[in-house]
């Protein structure tokens, strides 16, 4: 297997899924009607509801959903099960489930006056579902922030070459916000300056490596080289498990990342979060475009970087730690989330994008098209880790992506630096935004019963603190899989709402209902497997060794996973009742669509 063949498989998948399946559903089941008025045209307020050109909206929606998910998931899955099951799930997942989830969430909102999923759940299923959904969203955000902060801190601690680029990225983001919103500088000029400086500093990373190593060593010298926390990590020693240590330098980077995310959460969005995301976007986009092009050309130009280095298949249930089980079903299906299917896409699509759809004929290219494009991002991450093969999963990804970028003539050392930075940048910018959403969700969920949560500093501080507590367990693979379970369950819930709505409208609900059942059963099973792994693989060894913080952290993770299972059960029961209620009801008489204004 080489990268060119994988790229061809990806492009053919996108073409066939879109033309043979997605268009048919759009035409025959949803019956999108270009003459029907959309919420954007009916309720246009110039801000939220705003009819927007489909090409612009495609770019906007793709950027909003394409984040670290497709990259991290593919890296972990390829390391655990091999590239073959990963690529099969990516292809089948996006073809039969992923695009349907994203597209139908937008359809659901457009046909329900631009309401969010929770509002539709409140009306179509039950009021309780909305409350459960909020709880669900909060914990799923907590899990992903824990996983991301942990991954980033480990990469920044282990890769001193990345420090300069990341620090400059944040500084340039702040400068860009000031230039655009205060000094009224044009976007093109501001972009060239800030992205250019950031890129130069990222590429200069290897020159500053010695200084950064010295900085880490000085931090570690503060405790005389002794760790701050020791824990049992089942992902070490080739997934056999070993003692791991949180050194002062690792804690410093975890705290630094948390402080950055805290600032991103409480400052006005134009001041920090938005411009940092923008600068980061260019760095990541540049790496991905060069990487994808390099993957296609490498077979002809530099064949040594195009050959897969990892096994195609590592087994049905690879060993992870002394007592862990990692069965391919259900764990692969939650480990690779965003490149195949994701709940976040549905959540965002229903409010961020659906209210800007100008014409019903745009729903498929924007919703389905963006998901299929994101699949290509997941495929690129899988290719990179498959050809990289050196070191830990993230290191393998950076080596592989660096190899693809080097096809364009960039020296390998600098290309790998760019790949490492691209990985951290995309995770970092997404994490600060997730903390922001988490703060808002916490306020919405607990603000009435615990008024201090209405204060943005209290809500942000609580969010950061809980995420840090999860970080000290050190088991980011489990955190990632718990997040994947919660995320996929969100997707299943979106599909459930679509199924209930289709049944209530007397339409064929199978295209959403069958994937929903598969995802629901799979994700609940994965949450139970992860709870088992966490208890026997992490909690028990730490309990036996009497380590307080890891015991609290892993105990909290076990509790969260069980809580998510209970929440899923409530949602499933309510959803089933609503489905049966709507199925028995006669289909509503067809009404003429209101004319577009």
């Amino acid at each position: 297997m080489n990268s060119l063949l994988a790229v061809i498989i990806g492009v053919v998948t996108v073409y066939l899924a879109y033309t043979l399946y997605a268009r048919r559903i759009d035409r025959n089941v949803i019956q999108s009607d270009p003459k029907r008025a959309t919420p954007a045209t009916l309720y246009m307020d110039g801000v939220d509801f705003m009819p927007t050109n489909r090409n612009i909206l495609f770019g906007y929606h793709f950027k909003s959903i394409a984040a670290a998910g497709p990259i991290v998931g593919a890296i972990v899955a390829a390391s655990l099960w091999g590239w073959l099951p990963s690529i099969i799930w990516l292809v089948l997942g996006v073809t039969f489930i992923g695009w349907a989830s994203d597209y139908s969430a937008i359809v659901l909102s457009v046909r329900n006056e631009g309401n969010s999923l929770s509002a539709v759940a409140h009306r179509l299923v039950s009021p309780r579902t909305r409350r459960v959904l909020l709880l669900f969203i909060f914990f799923y955000l907590l899990l992903v922030t824990g996983a991301f902060v942990s991954i980033m801190a480990q990469v920044m601690d282990g890769q001193p070459r990345t420090h300069l680029g990341i620090v400059v990225l944040i500084a340039m983001g702040l400068l860009l916000g000031q230039m655009l919103y205060r000094w009224k500088v044009g976007l093109v000029g501001a972009t060239v300056l800030t992205v250019g400086v950031t890129l130069v500093c990222i590429l200069a990373g290897p020159w500053t490596e010695e200084f950064s190593k010295g900085f880490n060593a000085a931090l570690n010298g503060m405790t005389g080289g002794a760790p701050i926390v020791t824990y049992f990590d089942p992902t070490l020693a080739g997934f056999k498990g070993a003692e791991a240590k949180i050194m002062p330098s690792l804690l410093f980077w975890a705290l630094a990342i948390s402080a950055f995310c805290y600032a991103g959460s409480v400052l006005p969005i134009w001041r920090m979060a938005q411009p940092v995301v923008y600068v980061g976007f260019w760095i990541t986009a540049l790496s991905m475009v060069l990487g994808l092009g390099g993957a296609a050309l490498a077979s002809f130009v530099k064949p040594e970087v195009a050959q897969f280095q990892i096994p195609a298949f590592r087994g049905w249930s690879p060993q992870l730690g002394p007592a862990g089980v990692m069965p391919l079903w259900p764990m692969l299906f939650v480990t690779i989330a965003c490149g195949a299917i994701s709940g976040w896409h549905a959540l965002f699509g229903a409010v961020g994008t659906a209210r800007q759809i100008e014409n019903e004929a745009d729903m498929l290219p924007v919703g389905g098209g963006s998901m299929l494009a994101e699949f290509l991002l997941g495929l690129l991450a899988l290719l990179a880790v498959s050809v990289g093969a050196k070191g830990a999963p993230v290191g393998a990804f950076a080596t592989g992506l660096g190899g693809f970028i080097s096809v364009w003539g960039v020296p390998l050392q600098y290309a790998v630096s760019l790949a490492f930075a691209a990985f951290i940048v995309i995770v970092l910018v997404v994490t600060q935004l997730i903390f922001r959403v988490m703060r808002v969700t916490l306020t919405e969920w607990l603000g009435d019963v615990f008024p201090p949560c209405r204060n943005q500093h209290v809500a942000s501080f609580l969010s950061v603190l809980l995420a840090l507590l999860l970080v000290v367990t050190g088991t980011w693979v489990y955190l990632w899989q718990l997040f994947g379970g919660a995320n996929q369950l969100m997707a299943a819930l979106a599909l459930l709402l679509v199924t209930v709505w289709l049944a209530s409208a007397g339409k064929n609900w199978a295209f959403a209902g069958v994937p929903m059942i598969f995802m629901y059963v799979t994700t609940v099973a994965s949450l139970l497997v992860t709870a088992y792994n966490l208890y026997f693989n992490v909690y028990q060894p730490n309990l036996a060794a009497g380590r307080t913080l890891p015991i609290i952290g892993s105990g909290l993770m076990v509790l969260i996973s069980l809580l998510l299972v209970v929440a899923a059960a409530f949602i499933g029961i309510d959803g089933w009742r609503a489905f049966m209620r709507n199925l028995r009801r006669p289909a509503p008489a067809h009404k003429p669509a209101p004319a577009r204004g």
Partner: protein, 94 residues
């Protein structure tokens, strides 16, 4: 024929790149302006949503200038739980 298709394709690519990059800033700038205008509207036309703020005489004198904004302003405020609450950018109802 071919030239026309190429021109449309190039235009679509430009719009896609704008959607990826500048559109977010444009939306935020619109939102910031809208918030500013909302304050002005509440102060001058608050009685339209039940907030008596200025004597109707002055409201009536300003009315011709703000007529184009009234419909969207009322729609925007009508969706809020409280009129002074400002939803977080891009998290509207998530």
């Amino acid at each position: 024929m071919l030239t026309g298709r190429l021109a449309r394709g190039w235009e679509a690519v430009k719009q896609f790149v704008y959607g990826l990059t500048g559109y977010e800033f444009a939306r935020h700038a619109v939102e910031m302006r809208h918030e500013m205008e909302t304050v002005f509207m509440v102060v001058t036309m608050g009685d339209l949503i039940g907030i008596p703020v200025l004597p109707p005489l002055y409201s009536l004198r300003l009315l011709p200038y703000v007529v184009p904004e009234i419909a969207t302003w009322k729609r925007h405020l009508a969706r809020r739980k409280e009129f002074w609450e400002k939803p977080d950018y891009d998290l509207h109802g998530v």
